[in-house]
Subunit: 140 residues, 4 copies
């Protein structure tokens, strides 16, 4: 039942328009956690030619979105605080991980990070807070 | 001279790959401030069909990036804390504004918000902090 | 009725043990807003002799606590992000203001700032998010 | 030499006026990390009789302040984002821990948490960012 839910979330992420636009690839979804990858490509460049902060945040947000919905309760982002640590190398594959810290009936909180997949270099960290609506995500 | 800098930043934003990917349009750049617009399109949908938090953040981050560079000193994001207020309607035009609160020699801070352009509905707010490298942004 | 609620919150703040410990003085409570003052005294010094970040945060948190309860619905802090702007001068009177940005049925958000009362110098800003429990604060 | 620095920071924390006001006790200072304890006492009550958010934040901020100065470079807080997880029981002993995530020449970032000492119950988490001034903290 919960395995089915994790598979369902992975399928939703694969089919998600925004995830496809940025070339994200969901790697793992488990209890209160998710891992998502993305290759830094030229379309993500900012005005100085570095990776845009919005692209990095989007990768974290995708992992957070999946992680906070793994209990089957429709959950939405309330607040995310991202700290940028290092620039992401052009062409590198980034991996974002969101890990649940705690949940109550109405809220849940997560620690997230992005690392370069190959050398595990830390790129960004985030603290994220979700509101749990109480609705079932698998409802039609 | 500063007018030339604002024009230069607007040109950089127009030519920016990431801004083009999401269909952003810079509207104004002034001393410590910037306004950027983006239409919510189907490519920005998340796994539930709402506007992805990463797309909303990206719009704020573009305004922040421009605002923090308006003094001609190359500045990069240290931390952004975003609070999501309301869902953005499909097809609506969103407007993000970043406004400088303070700057010191090495850091500067901004309050940002996204509103729907037409009805001024508040969609998200953010607090953003930049590191001022001390380098000239117009250097080759 | 609401005036009575604002007066009640001011009385609660005046009688609050923590507010008294730090010498805070509530100045105003209104719809979605509150103003609280505190004099920087030697007991607030940190390891370098500057005003402790915890004392500055506490002043903002007192204003936030009052502001988010002005609708009569028991509300508690979910997240606060504080950005430190400038050092507070020893002996100066600080004034924190919390202003409501938005509220939904279950959450409400605030922008807060501390200024020196006399010269209006900006000391810190914060973004704060409350959870609205749905309980009546005036219940026994 | 570094051991001497950690001892010096512990001594500074013990002598710190604000730490004494709240009854904090520094437990450990090491490379990029610090642990500080505090008993929840009646003076920390907020307007509803719970532990004031400012008292909880202050404990985290003390640990952060110590951790970010363990490299001997005078460092000051830029931004702290705190998420409140659970209420702290009256009379309980709280333990805050700050752990360095990364540092560059000019900034360093930390993850922090408060737990009840005895049952390890999580009370709050925080993400903190420091500015490294470049000055030596041991200079007169």
């Amino acid at each position: 039942m919960t395995e089915k839910l994790y598979d369902d979330l992975m399928e939703r992420s694969k089919a998600e328009p925004y995830s496809r636009l940025l070339g994200m690839e969901v790697v793992d979804v488990g209890p209160g956690s998710a891992v998502v990858r993305m290759r830094v490509n030229p379309e993500m460049a900012n005005i100085f030619g570095s990776t845009h902060g919005g692209a990095l945040f989007s990768l974290i947000d995708e992992a957070f979105q999946l992680a906070c919905n793994t209990h089957g309760v429709l959950s939405v982002a309330l607040n995310v605080s991202i700290t940028y640590i290092a620039a992401a190398a052009a062409g590198s594959v980034l991996e974002a991980r969101a890990t649940e810290v705690h949940k109550t009936r109405r809220t849940s909180s997560y620690l997230c990070e992005i690392r370069e997949r190959d050398d595990r270099k830390l790129i960004a960290t985030a603290q994220a807070l979700a509101y749990r609506t109480g609705k079932d995500i698998t409802s039609p």
